[in-house]
């Protein structure tokens, strides 16, 4: 026995269901992606939540057309982050106090916590020496955990171009971090 649902409504319903499902998998990844830019826990969490509300409002305008919904969510995250930074006129990277508090959170050993704080600071400093596009690729691939195909659909580049830029970015990170370590 089948229920006669209206085609249009069912299309929207399917996308709503898809969005709910993606929430479970991508909320954390989006928050991590935003944090690299914003550097504040609460603000990153708020923006990540806002991404899904904004996506829900714009669901009617979403058409797959080669851009998977998760990549679309990261585009929204990027736009909201840019708006937020503009509004707040904030630094683009994590602040030192925030790094320290993150490193200390859940770590009872102060020496270990301090070392982790320094490590993270090094990563952020190294990331700052990349080009804006390289930084975005590393952020989306490492912290957003998107595939290079999804990244290419967000950046509007070919898969090959993204892979090439990714290699150049990782090589650069290795050099920067290797030099710093010495």
């Amino acid at each position: 026995m089948k229920i006669d649902t209206r085609e249009k409504a069912s299309g929207i319903n399917e996308r709503e269901t898809q969005l709910s499902r993606l929430y479970e998998e991508y909320y954390d990844k989006i928050a991590r992606y935003v944090y690299v830019h914003v550097g504040n826990r609460e603000e990153s969490e708020d923006i990540a939540g806002e991404v899904f509300l904004k996506a829900l409002k714009s669901l009617k305008s979403y058409r797959e057309r080669g851009v998977p919904m998760q990549a679309w969510l990261f585009r929204i995250a990027h736009n909201l982050t840019v708006d937020h930074l503009r509004r707040m006129n904030k630094r683009k990277t994590a602040e030192i106090e925030e790094i320290d508090s993150l490193a200390v959170a859940g770590n009872d050993n102060p020496v270990d916590a301090a070392e982790k704080g320094i490590e993270f600071e090094r990563v952020i400093e190294a990331m700052n020496q990349l080009t804006a596009e390289q930084r975005e690729i590393i952020n989306l691939r490492f912290f957003g955990e998107l595939t290079s195909r999804e990244v290419s659909s967000i950046l509007g580049k070919s898969d090959g171009a993204v892979r090439e830029m990714q290699r150049a970015a990782v090589e650069r990170l290795r050099v920067i971090m290797g030099v710093e370590k010495q």
Partner: protein, 272 residues
Amino acid sequence: MTEDFDRILDECIDRINRGQSPADCLSDYPAYSERLRPLLHSMYDVRRAYPFAPSADAKRAARQKLHAALGKRRQGASTSSFLKVISRPAVWATAAVVILAIVGTLVVRPLFSPQTLISDPEGNFAFVVSDEPNAIGDFETLNITISKVVLQTVGLAKSLEFTPEVKTVDLTLLQGKQSQEIWRGDVPAGQYSHISIEVSEVKGRLESTGQVVDVRLPSHKLQMPVSFEVTTDTLTSFTFDITVVKTGNNGKYNLRPQIAESGAGKDQMPAE
């Protein structure tokens, strides 16, 4: 050659994102390992040094906001489609009334298969799911997928069924007075004595450990022997309350219907 290397590096990054170590990937590409190793270790170090993960509280709050917005949107959609119908010019309104009368006659007189129920945002019957808090506090999420809802008329003379429009609900978001409508449509007027739901999947994740836990539902069905009446001029909203209980100290959970918290309520249908 470089293109091959880019592709291999890309695959290895995917694999590290999925939880593998650099060594797993290096062992598959020994010819590239000298060039690949330092890059993968850099990537691994960067990922490991990044300490930020959003809090469970923030995630839960954001989920609740999303679900509330989804509920509001669905309610809004049904209201706006009703307004669209009544705001048309008189000639169209007349035509709509005639069509509705014909459709209504066909539904009341079961010329179609009597078991077929039509989903309709302005229908006279809403099916709502809620959760009576028992062991639900143990869960971060408890998603149940409802594949079918079956209504039985008094004396089991007739059985009607429908597939929910929203199939998967998270019971952690439906505690106490919170509820979620998962289907609305036209149900023939009459007395009903029994309602059951068929559950195709239950997925629970524990709040304390984040582990997926076994939640049992023998026969994949929740049955509720509850009498209620459906009429054509009022909206009957049936709340099916589900609860999860812990069985002893073996870390297992069962799903059960909560009859005391379930039942039908009536609202006036909007005037046409």
